[in-house]
């Protein structure tokens, strides 16, 4: 059993490399297909002042006159050697923009991820411990409704209630307007973080809750739970010692697999709160035709999400060796 773990991990890593290469090709092709002309996008309003010769000069300087395959080769080579290019919208190297944006997004996404995991797991355990009671019904309804709620709308509602109605929280951005970045205190940062964080967390909860609940219901009906009850253990005792323990690892795998949703949610939430994070950079890059930044964000997010999925996949097998066995059967019919 233990002998094929290195092989499994190795195949996953090779797969990951293939996946990233495939994404790079697809993303580049899509960006090339776009009707947005990079020279026009760069010039913006100055377009009227530039003659055709100068445009050609810019195109040649950027290598736009060469065939797409050559362009891709150059770009891919540069990316592999760590040079992601220059962002035109932010007028800075893409790597710098990314680093700055990740710095703003990481606390938001990381905390939302952890909080939604903890909250979702707790709710799932509580609901699953006593299925078909009122607590269970309320939690289940909450999770179902949340799963159908658009992230950005929830963010808008929070904004209306807490920022506009009650004036408890700021309306936008990651720091007070008109204050130098180095003067912003930690408290102010948290104050600006809180609403986006709530919006992201509340939405992330739904899936984890439903998964944990299903698992808990299954465990509470198992023979060992019945036996523990027969021995006189209380329901809470069984739920925590047998239920929560067994449901924890599946919940963690779901949490890792939900990274993609989290990023999608953060793009929308950051847009609503004008929070200067990675998601907002992606939107801006897309709207203003900033191809290098858009590609870099796509690759960066793919890397994180795929690593998350790979971890989830490997964890699944650690938790339940039967999954590996079933997979082998399917692969060789």
């Amino acid at each position: 059993m233990s002998s094929h773990w290195p092989i499994l991990v190795a195949t996953r890593i090779v797969r990951l490399a293939f996946l990233l290469a495939a994404v790079a090709v697809v993303a580049f092709t899509l960006a090339k297909l776009s009707p947005v002309d990079p020279v026009n996008a760069y010039l913006g309003p100055a377009i009227a002042k530039v003659g055709p010769e100068q445009r050609e000069l810019i195109a040649r300087k950027w290598g736009l006159d060469q065939p797409a395959t050559v362009q891709f080769g150059k770009w891919f080579h540069n990316v592999l050697s760590g040079d992601l290019g220059t962002s035109r919208t932010f007028n800075a190297p893409v790597a710098d923009v990314l680093a700055k944006r990740v710095q703003a997004s990481l606390p938001l996404m990381g905390m939302a991820w952890l909080l939604s995991g903890i909250l979702g797991f707790t709710l799932g355990v509580v609901a699953g411990a006593r299925p078909d009671t009122w607590t269970d019904r309320i939690i289940r309804t909450y999770a179902y409704v949340l799963a159908s709620t658009p992230t950005f709308w929830l963010a808008i509602v929070l904004l209306v209630v807490f920022s506009v109605g009650l004036s408890l929280t700021p309306v936008c951005c990651a720091a007070p307007i008109g204050v130098l970045p180095e003067d912003v205190t930690l408290l102010e940062r948290l104050h600006h973080l809180i609403l986006p964080l709530i919006a992201l967390t509340v939405l992330g909860v739904a899936q984890i809750t439903l998964h944990t609940r299903a698992k808990m219901v299954e465990i509470m009906q198992s023979d060992f739970a019945l036996y523990a009850r027969a021995q006189g253990a209380s329901l809470a005792d069984v739920a925590v010692r047998h239920g929560a323990r067994n449901a924890a690892l599946p919940a963690i795998t779901v949490l890792f697999a939900s990274l993609g949703e989290l990023f999608g949610g953060s793009i929308l939430t950051e847009q609503v709160f004008a929070y200067p994070g990675l998601g907002q950079a992606a939107v801006q890059a897309g709207i203003s035709g900033d191809v290098p930044l858009l590609l870099a964000v796509a690759l960066c997010l793919t890397l994180v999400v795929s690593v998350g999925n790979t971890i989830a996949d490997i964890l699944y097998r650690v938790v339940d060796p039967r999954i590996g066995a079933v997979h082998d059967l399917e692969a060789r019919p």
């Binding site: 797969r15 293939f18 996946l19 495939a22 994404v23 697809v26 993303a27 092709t29 899509l30 960006a31 297909l33 776009s34 009707p35 947005v36 078909d132 179902y144 409704v145 159908s148 709620t149 658009p150 992230t151 950005f152 709308w153 929830l154 808008i156 509602v157 904004l159 209306v160 920022s163 506009v164 109605g165 309306v171 009906q221 023979d223 019945l226 990274l259 993609g260 949703e261 990023f263 999608g264 793009i267 929308l268 847009q271 609503v272 992606a282 939107v283 897309g286 709207i287 858009l294 964000v297 796509a298 997010l301 793919t302 999400v305 795929s306 999925n309 399917e330 692969a331 019919p333």
Partner: protein, 287 residues
Amino acid sequence: MTDAALTRPVTGVPVRRNKRIATIAATCAGASGIAVVVVGSLAFGNFGIEPDFSARLLPPSLAHWFGTDQFGHDMFARTIHGLKLSLWVGVVAATLSTLIAVGLAILATTCGRWADILVSFLVDAAMGLPHLVLLILISFALGGGTHAVIVAVAVTHWPRLTRILRAEILQIRHAEFVIASRQFGKSWWYVGQHHFLPHLVPQMLVGLVLLFPHAILHEAGLTFIGFGIEPTKPAIGILLSDSMRYLTAGKWWLGLFPGLSLVLLVLCFDAIGNGLRLLADPRQAQT
């Protein structure tokens, strides 16, 4: 499972009421919600599209249930129009997505090992990318607009259904009734028609309906951040992103109602999808 499993239901689980009727009722409620949207949008016609500058930014009242926006559009009519647009995008995108899923599942299960590996890789790749980033890229490549949203949503939503259908086909192929049928000399064509299709059609239908909510929500999100449906059309995403400018001025109704209606529409589809799934699946037999 042994005797313990069989005797367990006696341990104090109350006898449930007829669940099947409840499921059918929920499904019908979902369907009527969707019918209201379609009929309402037809009935409103151009109402909500034409501006009325005498009634700008009015709060909700009996005359304007959802209030009015900065051009005096009735928000209720606009929301219904938006929901119909969402429905339209959802129907086309989900159908295309289901077709892709069916095609890939058949390819994976009938064209040998390499085809199977390729399809699994494609599924993993599509699931590995964050949906919204892929949606932005595709929409960017096609230059935005309604058709770009439809393509983008259709191209990103097939992986889960492909997985389900592939597993289902593999399971049926090794089922004893299929092996027996083959050994009686029936052709694959006959077996496909008489043994595979009856199992696959319900799965496909349910998959199609359950794709709707995802498709609609992603369309709204994509439109909201400016990569989707043209700003001139009353899509829900457009209504909400327009409302952003007036929210800080206290015009809360512009943001609240369109989103709430979208949630209700999605819940309608969920109700139908889950209802169909429960009704079609003999293993979930409800008495």
